[in-house]
């Protein structure tokens, strides 16, 4: 079988700092990482892989995104494709999924496409379902684990509002994965990193993908970001430090009543 995993290199938003003077984002020094949700998706693909199966990772991004793809190869993917072209810049989720789809069509046959639930920079969770819709294949979102793949069927454990459900889908299918609570992104060992450099790696641009030039990047985007700004700073709160717990609770109740929270 052939698995395609869509991965994105993202700024580590947990390392982002806010300039207290200007209340703006300090982007310098923020490391770029493989989107944690995508790493989970890749690890699920690796988990269910059987002898003879092939895992292709694809990413649309600037040349630096190669690093994220090399990490995927080191983690166990077989082949990587980077989609990089100035024409792809400024893509919204529609244009991103269009671009990834052009690549998927060029790859040809596949059985399962894996995406992360969302990329931690945009948090939109739209690219996966948009790819599935454009390809006309079914989707399962919020997958916590792939339980099994048997014949032409995939069984997955899926998060719901109140717990989970077990879902069965006919292949080909696209799944988007949440990170289950036990998941820690691991770093591959040195040996694997060295081996990764020898695995097949291609870079494709807009000409390689063909398709409609007007559908790429900013041109193909249907939404337009007109302004980016810092959220209003949270008001400084009150921290209660009293001798006794009784006094502290009483103080809190007084404040809550005064501010009409209760």
């Amino acid at each position: 079988m052939k698995f395609i995993v869509c991965v994105k290199q993202v700024p580590d938003t947990t390392e982002v700092k806010i300039d207290p003077e200007t209340n703006t984002l300090i982007r310098e020094g923020v490391p770029s990482i493989l989107n944690p949700f995508d790493q989970f998706a890749l690890e699920e693909a690796i988990k269910i892989r059987q002898e003879g199966d092939k895992i292709v990772v694809i990413s649309m991004g600037p040349p630096q995104a190669k690093k994220a793809l090399l990490k995927c190869l080191a983690l166990g993917a077989d082949e990587a494709i980077l989609l990089s072209d100035r024409a792809f810049a400024g893509a919204d989720t529609w244009a991103t999924s269009y671009t990834l789809n052009q690549c998927i069509k060029k790859i040809g046959e596949f059985n399962i496409i894996f995406c992360g639930l969302q990329a931690i920079d945009g948090d939109t969770a739209q690219v996966g379902p948009e790819i599935a819709a454009q390809l006309g294949i079914p989707q399962i979102t919020y997958v916590e684990s792939v339980e099994k793949v048997e014949g032409k069927k995939l069984t997955a454990k899926v998060q719901t509002d109140e717990g989970y459900k077990i879902v069965e889908a006919r292949l080909p299918v696209l799944i988007t994965g949440i990170t289950p609570s036990s998941f820690e992104p691991t770093n591959p060992p040195m040996m694997s990193i060295m081996k990764a450099n020898k695995k097949p790696f291609s870079t494709w641009n807009a000409d390689d993908l063909g398709g409609n030039k007007d559908d790429y990047g900013l041109n193909g985007s249907l939404t337009e970001v007109i302004k980016v700004y810092s959220p209003p700073a949270r008001q400084q709160g009150v921290v209660i430090k009293e001798e006794t717990s009784e006094a502290a609770v009483q103080k809190l109740i007084e404040l809550l009543s005064k501010d009409k929270v209760i």
């Binding site: 990170t179 289950p180 900013l218 337009e224 700004y229 921290v239 009293e242 209760i262």
Partner: protein, 349 residues
């Protein structure tokens, strides 16, 4: 690398005027309307008024016509009912096919979906099928120069972005639960009800649900994603037994019980109640964090809550930087006292 300048394509000859009205796609859960639907309606009414258009509700499911009444009372102008027994269970395939058909037929100007698990599953599917722009997880919506101005947090909540959609119609967005005000009951509504005749094909469905496991009901009653008050516990709660302290407080406040990932990992509470980057993003009116340190992965899931109360024995805990009210102290002592005090207070009122 030099700055990239990109020329956006020119928009000409697009007749946008045939797209009218502000629609919401209501979410029905088991046999009740989820509150987020009323929040969407409240916002939709505001937008429709500004545009001088109608507020419409799309009701989808099995035996859902009976819910029209509730939306009528809350001031909807028109209700489209797509009722079919094959829509009893939510499936991306069937639901999206129906909505795509309805949108193509009636040409709304704006369509709002709840940013719930189902809403986030279906909205992008519809957007891609109809080649439409879509903005995820909006926390603010308004009209600017006749266009829908969509405001959403990005970058783990560190920045806000204003987004518009000039060329494609309807303009579509998913909206975070608990952010907008619910449409109030006014009792004098008279909505026009339009019953749609729809075809649903379960045969062609390629996805099937085999089993549903409801952990929340057994463990803690209210799902966090729906609650307007949440009491959350972290590693600092200390043990599964101690989680009773969290539940007691939640009971008094009619709140959901939430948790940090650490508490989920320790098996004290099911994963469905986890708040944070890899759990639920919540923005309740009141969030009480007990024994939670406030790591960034937890904060991104709850920091847009209206009021945050933190209880932690470490005065340096990061959570205090985001709390409107904090108590430094041992939660094992504080929680029982707080529960009792709040109970007395609420009885008094």
């Amino acid at each position: 690398m030099g700055a990239i300048t990109i020329q956006r394509k020119k928009i000409e000859d697009v007749d946008l005027s045939k797209f009218q009205d502000v629609w919401i796609v209501a979410e029905i859960k088991d046999s009740h309307i989820r509150n987020v639907s009323f929040e969407l309606l409240g916002k939709a009414k505001e937008l429709a008024k500004e545009l001088n258009q109608k507020t419409c509700v799309l009701l989808l499911g099995d035996n859902v016509k009976r819910f029209s009444e509730e939306f009528t009372r809350r001031g909807a102008d028109r209700i489209y009912v797509a009722e079919h027994e094959a829509l009893k269970e939510y499936y991306t395939g069937t639901y999206s096919a129906v909505i795509i058909g309805v949108i193509s037929k009636y040409n709304p100007n704006i369509v709002l979906y709840p940013a719930t698990i189902n809403g986030r599953d279906i909205a992008p599917r519809i957007a891609a099928n109809l080649h439409l722009g879509l903005t995820a997880d909006c926390t603010g919506l308004s009209i600017q120069d006749g266009l829908l101005l969509q405001t959403r947090p990005a970058f783990g909540g560190n920045i806000m972005a204003d987004i518009i959609c000039r060329t494609s119609r309807p303009q579509m967005a998913t909206v975070r639960p608990n952010v907008m005000e619910q449409a109030a009951i006014q009792n004098n509504g008279d909505a026009e009800i339009i019953e749609l005749s729809i075809k649903v094909d379960l045969q062609g469905l390629k996805v099937k649900t085999k089993e549903v496991i409801n952990e929340t009901a057994a463990a803690c009653g209210i799902p966090v994603c729906e609650a307007d008050t949440i009491v959350s516990g972290g590693r600092g709660v200390g043990s599964k037994e101690n989680f009773k302290l969290i539940e007691d407080l939640a009971n008094v406040l009619n709140a959901a019980v939430g948790a940090s990932r650490a508490a989920v990992d320790l098996g004290w509470i099911p994963k469905s109640q986890q708040v944070g980057q890899s759990g639920n993003t919540v923005s309740p009116r009141l969030y009480i964090a007990c024994g939670i340190s406030g790591t960034i992965q937890h904060l991104v899931g709850m920091k847009s809550s209206d009021i945050i109360i933190a209880i932690n024995k470490d005065p340096e805990a990061a959570i205090f930087q985001f709390a409107n009210y904090g108590i430094v102290g041992d939660l094992c002592e504080i929680l029982p006292l707080l529960t009792k005090a709040l109970e007395d207070k609420l009885n008094e009122n």
